[in-house]
Symmetry: C2
Subunit: 289 residues, 2 copies
């Protein structure tokens, strides 16, 4: 527990909108710091689970009144729903409330959000680099963000206060690196580090009828296809919201794979070994420590 | 411990040639069943480690005398070294000794091995579908093969006795599925399940300068590149020994990835969702149970 962070957030009325894997995990981290946030979700079962397990406490307020009470709102929503929610609910929010999201695309959301939002509200976008191949509050965990990376993408419309609040929130989550990027930098990096791996895993899984191969597989194939268990609603949105960068990354990756193919075709053992040595050295830098 | 298996192997004089990750792990499984095999390795440090830790016991015999004594020889060697070792050492081996390997390519090895080998010796190829991104006896473990798959690739030159011996050995290792394939089937399947994932991991890792991305990465990228820490000597041999199947698999995979790219370019959300649903359903079949 970080006493300073806990103090900052225990003094705020926090509302989490969308209690899925990320929203639910955010709530559980707060719980571990003796803070019970307010929470709302369109799914009745999710609400029942969250209330029954004391993950949230709405003090018997209606959803609208929760929104009116909050002074820090976290949107645990899919990208397209962030905009719809802001349009439909911003009239209820208290002046000077800080609002963040957790989505994996930034350019599209930030531009629109900051355009439509009331002048006395502040939207600052953020993205915890953590996830699972499962979804929903039942799979949420206060450990999800331990040693993960956390990206904040402020624009010139954001205050230092809001940036600092998000940094403190990432520290509370247990994140390791907290990085400030432009929305463009974020989307380019995520195209490579997150979206391209998902496109690869899905393509690998779909390139054969799978049933015939179960009895022969090793862990390599399992590792490379773990994220092929993808949430189709969320990820189709993410892919299409970042199409320019993602297509560029797919093209770049295919070029690399074609280079290996050429080495094999030409029996170029030395060139293959150089590629393997390079990838081994690079990968070592990415081990979690 | 499986009492029947233990009995079979405790009655044999087992020699492991090459005490690396696989050979060392084989020895440790035998140790756990109270069997101390003979073992030889060209690396002095490996030999010292194996003797000091009672992983092997050569009864003070020379390497040549170990070979003469053995009636079950397991070659824990790289593909090209399997052939060299057999050529150089088969004159020392007792008649009727059964010899197996553990390499990840089969057509090339089996054809040559069975061609050059004395008529009174039997070579039967096998492949444990397990590995690590590390190598050497220091990283070996008796748990490496638990719930793994094990493939035996007999030809019409092999006896039922040898096939049965290898099946019993796989059971001793703790393998889950023990499958009989032709060398051709093995190499085709391994091209897809093992070699293609390695080609992908290496290409993904090499498609950008890595240092800039460490602070932003999540677990997806780490998962897909774990096996990019590839042993360059071994894997360049494996790739080049299976070039026809591997190239075909790379081509097939690129076709799938290009289909996703086309969906993105055309904003075809429905087609993307279908691919994601398909990959999710297929991947669930591969969970280890």
């Amino acid at each position: 527990m970080n006493i300073n962070n806990t103090k900052i957030f225990s003094m705020k009325k926090i509302l989490i909108v969308g209690l899925g894997l990320i929203g639910g995990s955010y709530a559980k981290v707060l719980n571990e710091n003796n803070i019970i946030p307010m929470g709302i979700d369109i799914n009745q079962q999710t609400m029942q689970y969250a209330i029954k397990n004391n993950i949230i406490d709405n003090h018997n307020l209606s959803f609208d009144d929760c929104i009116k009470e909050a002074d820090f709102i976290i949107l645990g929503l899919y990208p397209n729903n962030v905009m719809t929610w802001l349009e439909n609910n911003q009239n209820k929010i208290k002046p000077h409330t800080i609002i963040t999201d957790c989505t994996g695309v930034k350019r599209k959301i930030i531009e629109k959000a900051q355009m439509i939002l009331r002048d006395d509200l502040e939207f600052i976008a953020s993205h915890p680099m953590a996830g699972k191949e499962t979804s929903g509050i039942m799979n949420s965990s206060g450990d999800l963000f331990k040693k993960a990376n956390f990206i904040i993408t402020p624009t010139n419309k954001n205050s230092l206060e809001a940036i600092e609040l998000l940094k403190q929130f990432a520290l509370l989550l247990g994140c390791k690196y907290i990085e400030i990027l432009t929305p463009e930098q974020h989307d380019e990096i995520i195209g490579f580090l997150s979206q391209l791996p998902h496109a690869i895993a899905v393509s690998l899984m779909n390139s054969h009828e799978a049933e015939n191969y179960i009895k022969y597989t090793g862990d390599s194939f399992r590792d490379l296809t773990r994220i092929a268990k993808v949430n189709e609603e969320l990820w189709s949105e993410l892919f299409l919201s970042n199409k320019d960068y993602l297509i560029s990354e797919i093209n770049q990756f295919i070029i690399e794979l074609e280079k290996i193919k050429k080495d094999i075709e030409e029996d170029n053992s030395e060139s293959l070994k150089m590629k393997f040595s390079s990838s081994k050295a690079k990968r070592k830098l990415f081990d979690k420590t």
